[in-house]
């Protein structure tokens, strides 16, 4: 028995070797918040019920494990301390119930694995199925339960003895087996939840935690296992292979080359191969390139950074930082698709991805602040509203609302350059830093007390990446504020159409704002709203914007089209959104799916303007 425990320690130590070789990442402090996450998401299993049957089965297995752990430990201690395993009532009763429930849970889980075979267990890109592994572990757990029962109820001393040893060997075998596969999560998941990020998911990690000067870095991004941070690798170890991430991933749904789950599986396979439990560590130059070969650039460029995967993960595995880190390496290595090189160069030379001249920025009707000017609210439009005529309409609408509400607003005019939000998320950190500097310089020369933007990406960049003194608001939040101050006399729209709100990823999931746009929407007298099944933190990305518009990855059906199918399913006639790219992508999808006359796409600002009676409601066809 001691040998088995020793083996487990050795195995775990080998698994930790990679974590020790990994990059630094501070994940300490805020212990209270960490403990809360551990209790709610870890012990409380709060993310499980999103998938009802599987979730409940897991909750039962997990609770059973917790309840039975005392018993298991006492059984291990029994030879050293006879009688200790007899804990007495009511524990005996509880554990019998728990064991019975775990057995039932195992049966249901095995049945689902073998007979029901939900699609999410069988990844389109997977080369090996984990069904056998799952069934083997389930059998082992069932065996444990039966051996335990035999120990209690076995009539003769002989049976009890056999059951005792069978139980203990199986348990130790089970523990030693865990670090070899997806059931490693039994050991790593709780620590993983405890050390999970407490930041808003819109915040991207810096290229390095140990060197803050970007230009001084020797290498940038992640190209091999050891370049990940220890937490990123703990994430990879903890993956249950449940497929919830890919089930929520718009890139997977559109049948692009990306399946987020496979990023974990492939990284973990590489980790287990090159940091084996027995034998030598493979030196990096003798491995297949992790980024470039094992994980292909096409996979990485297919991600819209929508964050649905990490929101869905029951064990809080984080994806965005890892994807961005791998992209950082690709960019630094010159491995950027030709389609993205043009807009990147345009961002560098002209400050916007379209390569347009600054003086050709569209007029939003809002006063342009000259250097030295002051205003109350700075309206940051970002590139899309400045150069895309359709999106410009939304900025004009918002500008008119501001004027009507008597807000003292101003813009940076042609001194504003792209927020750099997407440049950073596509891994071009240097370009992001340059753009940020230009904007900060322009802002420095003007006075204002707050910033508002109609683009959630700009919101995310200004709020989370720019480190500004002034608060940054999204226009939905600004409108909600005007509403509460009684400055938006909204009128009935006078139609009987149904409205639904499409949550932009960078407003909702990444910045936790679900209420403000809905408050504004529902304040319109007589409006009828419906929610899509995939709404709020489960919202489905429209296909994303900015640089994503230049780089279309191969897919079977575009994300925007899939989203419009969901709109149609909800029975809504109008999709209200609050992001320039959602607007463009969904409008395009309406055209390509022939729903132009059935479903209207509109920005929240435009809807408010309509409800203020400034523009006419179109006739329903």
């Amino acid at each position: 028995m001691a040998a088995a425990l020793g083996a487990l320690t050795l195995i775990l130590n080998r698994r930790l070797a990679l974590l020790r070789a990994a990059a630094a990442e501070p994940r300490t402090g805020d212990w209270g918040a960490r403990l809360k996450r551990l209790l709610v998401i870890g012990f409380g299993q709060s993310r499980q019920p999103r998938y009802l049957v599987a979730g409940l089965v897991h909750v039962v297995l997990f609770a059973g494990f917790m309840l039975l752990s005392l018993r298991s430990m006492s059984l291990i201690a029994e030879p050293f301390w006879p009688g200790i395993s007899n804990i007495g009532e009511p524990y005996t009763f509880i554990r019998h119930m728990a064991a019975a429930l775990v057995l039932v849970g195992c049966a249901i889980a095995a049945w689902r694995r073998v007979v029901v075979r939900p699609a999410r267990y069988h990844d389109r890109h997977a080369t090996v199925s984990h069904t056998k592994e799952a069934v083997a572990i389930l059998s082992l757990i069932s065996f444990l339960m039966i051996a335990d029962a035999a120990f209690d109820f076995g009539g003769s001393e002989g049976v009890r003895k056999v059951a005792f040893w069978a139980h203990n060997s199986a348990l130790l075998f089970f523990l030693c087996l865990l670090p070899y596969g997806k059931h490693f999560h039994v050991i790593t998941a709780l620590p993983n939840v405890f050390f999970s990020s407490l930041k808003l998911s819109g915040v991207v990690k810096p290229p390095s935690y140990s060197e803050s000067d970007f230009d001084a870095l020797e290498t940038v991004g992640v190209s091999k296992l050891e370049d990940f941070t220890w937490k990123q690798l703990l994430d990879v170890y903890s993956c249950v292979d449940c497929g919830r991430c890919s089930d929520h991933c718009p890139a997977y749904a559109s049948k692009s080359p990306l399946s987020p789950r496979m990023l974990n599986i492939k990284t973990r396979d590489a980790a287990f191969e090159h940091y084996p439990i027995k034998g030598e560590i493979t030196p990096p130059e003798k491995r297949a390139d992790l980024v470039g070969e094992v994980i292909t650039p096409d996979e990485l460029w297919s991600c819209t950074t929508c964050g649905a995967c990490q929101e869905a993960c029951p064990v809080t595995i984080e994806y965005l930082d890892r994807i961005v880190d791998m992209r950082r390496f690709l960019v630094d290595d010159g491995n950027l698709p030709a389609t993205l090189q043009k807009p990147m160069a345009a961002l560098e030379k002209r400050g916007n991805p379209y390569g347009k001249m600054a003086r050709k920025r569209g007029d939003t009707g809002v006063r342009v602040l000259k250097e030295g000017d002051a205003c109350d609210t700075l309206f940051f439009t970002d590139s899309c509203a400045a150069f895309d005529p359709r999106v410009q309409e939304t900025a004009i609408a918002f500008g008119e609302i501001l004027a009507q509400a008597g807000v003292d607003a101003g813009t940076l005019g042609k001194d504003e350059v792209d927020s750099g939000h997407e440049a950073r998320r596509f891994g071009e950190e240097g370009l992001f830093l340059t753009l940020r500097e230009q904007n900060l310089e322009a802002m420095d020369k003007r006075e204002f007390t707050q910033i508002v933007t109609t683009d959630p990406h700009a919101l995310n960049a200004l709020k989370n990446d720019y480190e500004l003194e002034q608060p940054v608001l999204h226009h939905s939040q600004y409108l909600a504020k005007l509403l509460s101050e009684g400055k938006l006399p909204l009128q009935p729209l006078g139609d009987n159409r149904r409205y639904t709100f499409h949550d932009p990823c960078y407003l909702g999931r990444h910045n936790n704002e679900y209420a403000a746009p809905r408050d504004v929407l529902n304040a319109i007298p007589g409006i009828e709203t419906v929610e899509m099944e995939r709404s709020r933190n489960r919202s489905f990305c429209c296909g994303a914007g900015s640089l994503n518009l230049f780089h279309e990855t191969e897919c079977e059906r575009r994300m925007g089209e899939l989203r419009l199918d969901m709109v149609a399913e909800s029975g809504a006639d109008v999709v209200v959104t609050a992001c320039p790219f959602c607007l463009s992508n969904l409008e395009d999808a309406a055209k390509t799916t022939g729903r132009e006359n059935e479903i209207e796409i509109i920005d929240l600002a435009e809807l408010v303007q309509r409800s203020l009676g400034k523009t006419k409601q179109p006739e329903k066809e």
């Binding site: 230009d215 960019v331 010159g334 491995n335 001249m357 240097g430």
Partner: protein, 262 residues
Amino acid sequence: MDIYVCIKRVADTSEVDIEIDRTGLALTEDDFSYDINEWDNFAVEAALQLKEEHGGKVTALTVGIEDDEEVLRRALAMGCDEALHLSDPCFEGSDAWGIAQILSAALKGKPLDLLLFGTVSADEGAGQTGGFVAGLLDLPMVSLATSLKVNGSIATVSHEVEGGLERVRELDLPAVVTVQTGINEPRYVSIRGIRKVSGIEIPVSGVGDLGLDPNQVGASGARVKLEELFLPPQGQSAQMLEGSDDEIIDKLLDLLQENGGL
């Protein structure tokens, strides 16, 4: 392998309202942004790929004013080992022949295996320089290369010929090859990459260093003179086709056929 790549900085005229300045011989440059000539970018990448395969050294050269150094820096950031800036006030106004004189003076006597050019430059569009330099250095040359491989002292080059045909030729090195776009996928140069090479001193050679006669080059030595620059008059031939999608397609096909577009 010693590879030399001749590159040029050109104006990006997309998204700009093109205007001709008062002399009538040049464009108003206020709104231009500049970058490496697209073809030359492919040539640099081709050189770097050969270096990665066979080892050796890649040197980038350009003829131009101080600001043109920017493209040399970019080439260094891409992975070129050295850069050489050929710059002198009296180079200004050179025609392709003049530029070729300057380049060949700089290259003469260098241990050169392969000399690469972009096929044409986006601003002049003449496609002469590579050919002139090959002549001046007495080297074999293939233009419009769409693939380029080196084996020992032989380069195998495919190039486009009329009718969409591709011809494969073998050349004894040293040789000159002018490169077509699409021959490879040029790597990206990140801002960080450029910053990393910002401290490198790039040597500059002028007319004296190259042993050239100032009258041979520049405006005075130019044999081709620009007479006039004008914007093409706007045509009035836009035509809207009407009908269902199928009808429009049929009409379009007819029109294309009638006018020799197919």
